[in-house]
Amino acid sequence: MEQAGEAGSWPAVRGTDVELIEQGAYRFLIPRRGEMRVPGVICASRALLPGPGGDRSLEQVANVATLPGIVEASYAMPDMHGGYGFPIGGVAATDPAQGGVVSPGGVGFDISCGVRLLAADVDRGELVPVLGKVMNQLAAAIPRGAGRGGIWPLAGTAQLRHVLTGGARYAVGQGHGVERDLLRCEDEGAVTDADPAQVSSRAVDRGLQQVGSLGSGNHFLEVQAVDEIYDGQAARGFGLRSGQVCVMIHCGSRGLGHQICGDHVRAMEKVMARYGITVPDRQLACAPVSSPEGQGYLRAMAAAANYGRANRQVLANTARRVFAQTPGGGLNLVYDVSHNLAKIETHEVNGRPTQLCVHRKGATRALPPGHPDLPPDLRETGQPVLIPGSMGTCSYVLAGVPGGGAFASTCHGAGRVMSRHEALRTVNGSRLQRWLESRGIAVRGASARGLAEEAPNAYKDVTAVVTAAEGAKLCRKVARLVPLGVVKGLAGGGAAAIACRAAHQRSPGGAAPGRPAHRGVGGDQGRVRR
């Protein structure tokens, strides 16, 4: 395992409060200082670093380095940007035998958010004449946006428990896919240590009616075409060929995962003092991996991971049904991989195989060729890594490499550089839609405001991110995909809230006049105690 170096004589990068030392074209070091137990290592080009007045991601990398039991370094991938507590694009491994902690903030709210790629039997030339029809059918078939309404209406909590323990395996067993799908899913579609008893009733309530739904924000279903192959042998192994149509799905564990993260952050906050732990940011709340709280979170997180995989499985099978009608033919799973997860893995630390709790938040596991956890047909090439670009730009398929650093991790996407508010201020959504359509990209399900939030210039250049990840020896390129059509969630404006017209029309008593369908005129009273 690559070891994080000590500070050298390279000049510090200006424009940041954190001391940063350049150690090569794609490696910057944050030397240990204060409470940091290990250095920070940024795997990025200089151009991808946050500039003056940029986000707090470098400070967050340093904060993560203070966590008990962290080993080697607090890593950041080239698509790093500011998150809550942990940076997005952060990788941190702790040693449970040395008091190492697990932090829900190191996984993120959307547990097991990830990407699934399916390869179609048809080529681009066959799809383009019927693209509009296919996109309309996908838009009609894929639930998205706020609230309830998944493709798979579960019978109740008993069936949800099966989803939480069985993940994509259970979904396939219930008719939402084929057995081969499971061979191409991380962990064969389900992790084994999920415990629904660690999932709160609120999380259950939020999860019951959202299996098979896209959500909103930066989640999407995109129809793509293979534009360029960099590694023919690996591409063939993955089931990809030039000109082939693909479907990429990006989503996670919906409200259930968010609730689990929030519940366990608060539970850990309450007990940190008992374990003698202090953290520089409340969202870094953590507990020893071996503690009841640590184990409780890991088992709840595993349940959410299974939910996320079942969710993508159901969505993929729905896309498969659409494609079977128009343009005809199958959709074969290339791979499904999470980029928000903590896993117990074995890595070499100081030359010795050591069991670690590896947090990847906005970072993708990238197992090298020959790794025993890979399915036999992928063992020679290494694990497929799926990197969605920003809307209207290209996406990449990568593969793990021998000796991959950062505990066999790499980037997860383009990485935001502009807040939603800032994007709304600077981007005209209608103009963006026209630009997308002028390039032959069909857009469904997005308002002009929603498009503006996800504008390509709100993100880093995904090609620069992938170049840096490859330059840092974290992965290698296999193929590039270009978008043909996208189904987005029904996200709207820049506010992190739902504004509703009815709210502006409400009477002093609270009920909107002329809207008899309003419920709860007497109020639905909730009790909030401190």
């Binding site: 609230g147 309830r148 409200g255 539970a267 509703c500 409400r506 609270g510 419920r519 909730g526 401190r530």
Partner: protein, 86 residues
């Protein structure tokens, strides 16, 4: 609730709204909060179905504890900051 603080009460109130939205497809069109005798708050939500409103913003999913604050600073000026994940 973790922490006996005003910011945590604000967070809990917003989380209640998010929960109602996600689990029941309901959105408050009027909200009232009253201090309760035990130091908590009584929160009254007048709810409408999501199908009754126009969605104009990204869907809120969770309240972040980073940077959460609510109260008066040294100069006596009141402010509140909450980051909501979407």
């Amino acid at each position: 609730m973790a922490g006996d603080s005003e910011p945590d009460l604000v967070a809990a109130a917003i989380e209640e709204v998010i929960y109602r939205l996600d689990a029941y497809g309901e959105i408050p069109v009027a909200v009232a909060a009253r201090r309760a005798a035990d130091g908590g708050i009584d929160l009254t939500l007048h709810l409408a179905g999501l199908d009754q409103v126009e969605i104009t913003g990204a869907v809120p999913k969770a309240v972040c504890l980073s940077g959460l604050r609510c109260g008066r600073d040294e100069s006596g000026r009141w402010s509140c900051a909450v980051t909501i994940d979407v």
